[in-house]
């Protein structure tokens, strides 16, 4: 258990022969700190550098620039096993020629732990992961979910493990086992209180697993916070759209005479809002969550008329796609509001729920 910190980490896969100016950085200038015993997620689209970051933390990869600290101690020059950081990979890695018991025992045997202690520890770990009945089983007979559990088991079996890194561990798991394994991961974290970093491109996995989510895009950290903070106060339009389903509605607008001017409608704003916007007038991006958009079937003061073009049913709620001449927004509404495709509706945007972005940054 330990606190993990990244200090000014940048990494390029280009060989040193490539001149400084032409190098492409997979990750750049990362400063991240994960407290001891925390459940964290690294969230970002594919190819944004998540695996690179994990490999740098575990020591599989030496960063081009920067330091990795474990409990304040610089471990950058150390080999993976000396850092005591464990990693679970996207594809379940198990040793085919060993049974489940020997697989779990492998990291301990490599440390020359006495056999008696190994037996005890393996049974303990198997109990946590519900693998007791499989200890003697041949590995090749297991499904991917059980293999992934074994892989997780190897990563938590050493008492001195400082942190466990999980690289998209559910990717190849059959959907019917996904939920169970996800809950198991969370349960293991709660029980062992090990610092964990869970990498995924799936916001649902990240937000359900972690107390603290870091969002990465193109190798840059763009926001770190609790799932709630990310949802209600996204730092950029990208996060607003990336988090939530459906993503945040984003429309371009400008501020003119106490109103937000859109391409085909305008929205009056309060003095308070105007003050917050300050000098930023042109090139604003307006954002509002589909969940907080208000829908009325009759004309209302301050509401904007839209036409419902598509209705998607999900069971619990419906997602309406609403169009005007050149604006489109989505609204998430309950089953009880009576609308059908082609209906005219009046949409209002509660001011306290608005997000306004300027230069890709949140200002309101």
């Amino acid at each position: 258990m330990a606190r993990i910190e990244l200090e000014g980490i940048s990494h390029t896969y280009d060989p040193p022969s490539v001149p400084e100016t032409q190098r492409e950085y997979a990750v750049s200038n990362l400063d991240i700190s994960w407290p001891d015993g925390s459940a964290n997620a690294l969230l970002g689209p594919s190819g944004c550098g998540k695996t690179t970051i994990l490999n740098i933390i575990s020591g599989l990869l030496q960063p081009t620039v920067g330091r990795v600290l474990v409990d304040g101690k610089d471990v950058t020059p150390l080999a993976p096993r000396e850092r005591k950081i464990a990693q679970v990979f996207q594809f379940p890695v198990v040793y085919d020629s060993m049974n489940v018991f020997d697989n779990l025992a492998f990291p301990l045997r490599n440390q020359k732990v006495p056999e008696k202690a190994i037996g005890k520890k393996v049974r303990e770990t198997a109990e946590i992961l519900d693998l007791e009945d499989l200890l003697k089983a041949r590995i090749t007979r297991l499904n991917a979910a059980d293999k992934q559990k074994i892989s997780l088991g190897r990563s938590i079996i050493r008492e001195d493990t400082a942190a466990v890194l999980l690289d998209e561990p559910l990717t190849v798991i059959d959907p019917k086992f996904k939920g169970g394994l996800r809950r198991k991961l969370r349960e293991v974290q709660n029980r062992l209180k090990k610092t964990m970093v869970y990498v995924t491109h799936d916001q649902h996995e990240a937000l359900t697993f972690a107390d603290n989510v870091t969002i990465i895009k193109d190798g840059h950290l763009i926001q770190q916070g609790t799932p709630h903070e990310l949802h209600s106060q996204p730092a950029s339009p990208f996060i607003g759209y990336f988090i939530g389903s459906p993503g945040m509605n984003l429309l371009d607008c400008t501020l003119q005479d106490s109103a937000l001017q859109f391409s085909d409608f305008h929205l009056p704003v309060s003095q308070e809002m105007k003050n917050k916007l300050g000098s930023a007038g042109n090139g604003l991006k307006f954002g509002i969550r589909p969940e907080v958009v208000d829908i009325a079937t009759r004309e209302q003061a301050g509401a904007v008329a839209f036409t419902v073009s598509v209705i998607e049913y999900t069971g619990a709620y419906r997602v309406l796609t609403c169009d005007r001449e050149s604006s489109r927004i989505k609204a998430r509404v309950s089953e009880s509001i009576p609308v059908t495709e082609g209906d005219r509706i009046w949409v209002s945007f509660p001011e306290e729920k608005l997000n306004l972005f300027f230069n890709e940054k949140r200002i309101v």
Binding site: N55, S58, L60, A79, P80, R81, I85, A86, Q87, F89, Q90, F91, V93, Y95, D96, S97, M98, N99, D102, F106, P107, N110, Q111, K136, R138, I139, T140, S151, R154, S155
Partner: protein, 285 residues
């Protein structure tokens, strides 16, 4: 229920029947008769088999053959794995190495035999000249050990690249994550080889061992061209022995020994296959 798919298999079965089944039946038929140089065959039951199994020349050829083939496996398989491990994984070196390894495989058996003959010929060959530097008189025509070792090393040179190429293809197919996991688990280089590389090479090694066993068991052209099976019978391997008998028109004996020969190849191949498919599968003791 009729499966019309079988219709499509008939041509293949016909070819197989002509190329394998009918000759095999002929051999079995020969092996049960006494036939000598055009005389009318007489049915003798298993007498030919008894004769073969009592023939000390056959038994010596068999032991020599087994020693040779086991030696070949013991040298070529580990050596092939080592070569494969040393080859570059990517970059421009890959193509060069693969071509260099492939060259021996392109040379026909008989050419290899002739090359060996030229190289080892006393008075003109390079190899006797080389050994002369150490005051050792190397002579494949006189010294049984020299002749046997020449054939052996020739085979190692000729066929280790096959094992190496198979292993190289096998190595390329192992995902990086296995090696990364082994590093995270703190495995030593040996343990990584033993528990990651070797198990992942199992299927290509099965193919390699079976191919090399069956092929080396059939070695023929090289000893024939080098010394004609000599000196004495030092390089008279099984196929050479059987062929001699057929050449001398002792067809009953040749048939029986061929059949025994085939039987041995099948039995050994089966044993290797079973051993290699099941060994170290993590089965509980």
């Amino acid at each position: 229920m009729k499966n019309r798919g079988w219709l499509f298999v008939i041509p293949a079965l016909a070819v197989l029947a002509i190329s394998a089944f009918i000759p095999l039946m002929t051999v079995i038929n020969y092996s049960l008769h006494y036939i000598f140089a055009g005389s009318t065959p007489t049915f003798v039951g298993f007498e030919n088999y008894v004769e073969v199994l009592r023939d000390s020349a056959f038994l010596r050829a068999l032991v020599r053959q087994l020693v040779f083939s086991m030696g070949i496996l013991a040298v070529e398989v580990p050596l092939g794995i080592c070569i494969a491990l040393c080859l570059p994984k990517r970059g421009p070196g890959v193509a060069v190495c693969l071509v260099l390894l492939g060259i021996p495989l392109l040379i026909p058996f008989n050419v290899v035999g002739i090359i060996a003959r030229v190289l080892t010929q006393s008075a003109v060959g390079v190899i006797p000249e080389f050994f002369a530097l150490f005051n050792y008189s190397f002579n494949v025509a006189k010294d049984p050990v020299d002749a046997f070792m020449t054939i052996f090393l020739l085979d190692v040179w000729h066929w280790t690249p096959l094992v190496a190429l198979l292993c190289y293809a096998g190595l390329q197919a192992i995902p990086d994550a296995y090696y990364q996991a082994a590093r995270i688990d703190g495995a030593s280089a040996w343990k990584t080889f033993r528990y990651v590389t070797l198990p992942k090479l199992r299927s290509v090694l099965i193919i390699g061992v079976l191919l090399r066993f069956m092929d080396s068991f059939k070695i023929y052209a090289e000893p024939l061209l080098l010394t004609g099976g000599g000196p004495g019978d030092a390089t008279t391997f099984l196929s050479l022995h059987v062929a001699r008998k057929a050449e001398s028109y002792n067809l009953g004996y040749a048939g029986a020994s061929s059949f025994i020969y085939l039987f041995i190849v099948i039995v050994f191949s089966y044993i290797f296959f079973q051993l290699m498919t099941h060994i170290g599968k993590g089965e509980t003791k």
